[in-house]
Subunit: 351 residues, 2 copies
């Protein structure tokens, strides 16, 4: 295992779409949403454990999730759990942790991942990440993971790859032509029909020097802010200093702040059973289903004349469902929600 | 109030059709199934309280429901709560309590009612019962309450009244031509189209001497069994003696044992908003509904795009329902059931 490999798990999301299973008190990444005995953040750490030393694992999350993170990831060093005082999207998060990592190891090579995604082909996934890390260890490239689309999804950004231009060092790594915002349905259908459009999964690989340089060039103010705190980092004054600085940071994604502006951006296509589990529908699609297409997450669920439903309940709670087609039935902490899968975008209006 | 008036509440049912709200541990009569703050057995007692002295109220129930009965009906004298050791339908129940009443007051005049029915026009109901009791106080008639049918129900027995032959003493009380078993749909439609067919609500009025005589004639063995225990009744030996006798009694309804055989049988037609609340559908029909036909029983239920549903949950539990039409959603004690109203006869298979 390369001792320069670092992992950054971004765990600041509040998972409002999975209500009532998720809540601001316990968002999706801290839930065993698949009913497999492990939470999504635990699955995320497991996925990278063979290729990143545990002392190089970093988690950036909201300060209200400090206890949950420590409980669920007891092997991650406490000092590697960075707490954000407020939500500022992914750019400040990555800038902060990158300066922390640079201070500890200027040769670090980093993979950044959301905490709440699912990958079913973990071997293929790790192979893709390792290839990307080997590449960024030797170059000043920024590499994104590009997921082979399986449907004309309008909820994701797309990466347009230049498949004619693969890296001379890594044949599976291609130059990025452009990042495309979430498309409309017709555009998404067009993208899916072409081999060079890939989903942007928000999983990035770069050396610490590359990403710090990119911040210096494209987000000079933000980068300077954190650089000025370099001496304060890893001291008792760090929290106060970060809290003050964070409040002044732009609320901006790393995609917009860096990726869409940088020059040496590459993509590693991957077909690894990835899902962002961003919707109940995607959770249903990724869960084990019975012969009638029902995903039943819970230990005591009985269904009759029921098809294409997802039933999600806390352990051992008894649920009997008759005669539903295409519904979400979710029950937790004294709250029961029943909603058509096709109407799940309205869930945020329910709580 | 006539001091000879007695009330018998039959409360032995196990309410299996209202699962999961009702259970063998707490059947329907002991539940606030309407969400009005009173259980059905409490509503039943209230309905009769103006016409029967409290010391003349009797409850016959299963021995496992003794505590529930005492808790819910604290004003009913403890010695008037008779406990059945096993379920033997209504004939042994009525025979037992009739001998108990006869021993206390040979002039008693009795109304017998199930514990778990609903009446919305309580004034009209009491007027009908009082007329019937005035009639049975002066005659040896057996009177049944006959509910004016509102639909071609196939789940009830019917009473065919001879509307040309009203009693000379009470113009609203008619001789019964015949009792009709639960009809098929075509027969039920025929019944509803004729003015002289009424639902048999299982509510009976008779003097204690009349019903004891009827048991002596039509159920001699059963009647003898209880008569032999006459000296034992109201002694510490009563429970043991009754337990032994009950096990030997036929499992038979009073309709079949007495009503269909007796001679002087009359009916008092009544249109008093009666329901046996025998199904979720009837509960929905009797509950307050919103403008979309939803009966929402619970304090924190929100519905969207939802019509003709009944949602029943324990107090303050939060429920959100989107996009259902014609369903039961019932949740209690860690059990959630969702079922089409049209399929509710299958509920007994679910538990």
């Amino acid at each position: 295992m390369n001792q320069n490999n670092h992992l950054v798990i971004m765990a600041g999301g509040i998972g409002s779409r999975f209500w009532p299973m998720s809540s601001e008190e316990r968002p999706k990444q801290f839930l065993d949403i698949l009913g497999c005995g492990r939470t999504l953040i635990q699955l995320t750490l497991e996925r990278f454990a063979p290729i990143v030393p545990m002392e190089n694992v970093w988690v950036v999350t909201g300060e209200q999730y400090a206890t949950l993170t420590r409980e669920q990831l007891p092997d991650v060093p406490q000092e590697n759990i960075l707490l954000e005082p407020c939500r500022r999207n992914t750019a400040p998060c990555i800038c902060y942790v990158s300066w922390k990592i640079k201070k500890r190891n200027p040769q670090a090579n980093i993979v950044v991942t959301p905490a709440d995604h699912l990958v079913t082909d973990t071997d293929g996934f790790r192979q893709a990440i390792e290839e990307a890390m080997e590449f960024t260890a030797e170059t000043d490239a920024i590499v994104t993971l590009g997921i082979k689309p399986s449907r004309p999804e309008t909820g994701y950004g797309y990466i347009k790859a230049d498949l004619a231009y693969s890296s001379s060092r890594k044949k599976n790594i291609y130059r990025v032509d452009a990042f495309k915002e979430k498309p409309d349905a017709a555009t998404a259908a067009q993208y899916v029909s072409e081999p060079n459009y890939l989903w942007n999964a928000g999983i990035f690989v770069w050396s610490v020097s590359t990403i710090i340089n990119a911040f210096r060039v494209y987000q000079a103010k933000m980068s300077n802010g954190f650089e000025k705190l370099l001496k304060t980092l890893d001291t008792p004054q760090e929290t106060d200093a970060i809290n003050k600085l964070y409040a002044t940071c732009d609320n901006i994604s790393v995609d917009y702040a860096i990726m869409e502006r940088a020059e040496e951006v590459f993509v590693r296509p991957a077909d690894v059973g990835w899902s962002d589990l961003g919707t109940w529908g995607s959770l249903q699609a990724q869960s084990q289903r019975d012969e009638h297409g029902n995903a039943l997450i819970g230990n005591n669920i009985a269904v009759y004349d029921t098809t294409n439903c997802i039933v999600h309940t806390t352990e051992n709670r008894r649920v009997v469902v008759q005669g539903l087609d295409g519904y979400i039935v979710a029950e937790k902490d004294g709250i029961l929600m029943i909603c058509r899968l096709s109407e799940e975008q309205r869930i945020k209006l329910f709580h």
